[in-house]
Amino acid sequence: MDWRTYQKILLPDTPDFHKLDVYEKEGQGYQALRTVLTEEKWSRKAVVDEVKKANIRGRGGAGFNAGLKWSFMPPKQEGVPRYLAVNGDESEPGTCKDRRLFEYNPHTIIEGALIACYAMEMDAAYIYIRGEYADWIDMVQAAVDEAYAKGYAGKNIMGSGQNIDVFVHKGAGAYICGEETSLMESLEGKRPYPRSKPPFPAQVGLWGKPTTINNVETVGHVPHVIRNGADWYLGIGAQTFPGPMLYGISGHVQRPGVYEFPSGMLITDLIYKVAGGIRGGKKLKAVVPGGSSVPILRADMIEGITMDADSLRTVGTFVGTAGMCVLDEDTDIVKFLIRVSQFYDHESCGQCTPCREGTGWFVKMLKRIDSGEGSTRDLDTLLELCDTMEGRTVCALADAAAWPVRNTIIRFREDFEAKIKFKGAYAVA
């Protein structure tokens, strides 16, 4: 399928699509839910299998097959409630896609969540949305209220005998709550310190009960998979990372925006054809393809690279959230990295020492380099510090903080060295 003729699925241009009646009329809204609840062929397992076959790669950043995650839920035990947590904490810098779904297509999230709850025999879905999105939380709540009023959520949904509640939970400003176990702690009303795994959420999740956590966009894909089948979904975009993709293109481009195209687009097409190229006729310096955590790419690394896990792996980076930040030749990459590191320093929950201390050291050492007081030895110390953080903490925030530092230093070393006054000052000792 050529991306030029692609018809949008997740963010259609239909006016008032966020309203239930329009969603039903123009988007076959809640038909997929009706189908799985009423048609015999859609057993719970059949839904899980179809979603698994479609290989919806988690859109929150990890890219894990959503249906496979669903299949990890243990067999239902009578009297033991089970939960779905829908992750709308969207806080990864560079990511601005979920907010568009909340505003323009909230019902696909709700319908997807309800289908997921049916498939995994869950009692309730909690849609966790970052507190900054106060206006959008109201929009999602309004959509949930509409769904309840129509009997699409709550007791005896569509006369099927299924009871599934949908609740919206408002965060209060913490990046860490986007980490799935932290999100559960936050929902439980605790300080959101991530939990050690195992036990995994499917075994011990929300309030100690079996739980699955999916990104809002991921569950938003589900009604389309049910309606059109896994084979249809597999035919969109990249073979091993299929489906529609919301590309949040920001930074020094002519036309920043949230674009919906098939996955697996060429990065160069996205920058130059879709977003109109670099503004002011400047040259490209760097691209961060999927949110601030994923390794940065130099301009000379993107030729022929597409937005899917396999292609991006060849240049040592990830799809992440497909929130792409484009930087032009005037960018001070050291200052850029300082601000990214400040973000992780601010957002580290403080539970694990390597992350709590390491994120602060990143900022201090990078600032020293930026001020011209650094030495080449500092660059090696920073890389060593990355070694002491990656994989040594409860959650992946330390990794997310270390990857930009490690890869920016390796890929733009000359930019750092240019700021170092006493080159090799310690090298002779």
């Binding site: 963010l11 806080s91 990511t95 036309r255 920043p256």
Partner: protein
Amino acid sequence: MEPVSYTFTESEIAEIQRHLSKYPDKRSAVMPALWIAQEKFGWLSEEAIKLVADTIDIPYAHVYGVASFYTMYFKEKVPEHLIEVCTCFTCGEMGGKEMLDYVKEKIGADARGFGKDGKIWARAAECLGACDTAPVCQITNRRYVHQLTKAKVDELIAKLEKGEEIPYERIPLTDQSIIDD
């Protein structure tokens, strides 16, 4: 100034009860209840936190622990209006830092970011999730102002000073029809 009475009204208690009914454990209502307290009192004082703890019937220390974790709960008395300018990642590269400096200069901010007239304060925000309309700011935990310029900041501050509401700025879906081949 009249002393603040630290009680919830009946409707506020009903609202907290409604939140309690959403979760199997009462502790989960702590965040919504803190939101209600902050809306009411403007910030979360010791008394406000105690009120939340007593209303949900959980320990003060627990509620304090939650309140003190999150950026959006104010742990000190702050001016009525907050201009939180994103300086993170994309916004930082698109002029967000300069916009924050401009806001602070305009309101005559002290080291805490509090403006001279005591009505407005400003601080840097971490990524607000509106990178495609950078630079952005958020007003007092709600409204977003997109594609900030100095003129937009001037207008914004004038509105806040006059006590006018900041309207919701709707960003249409991205126009995908233009393709540069």
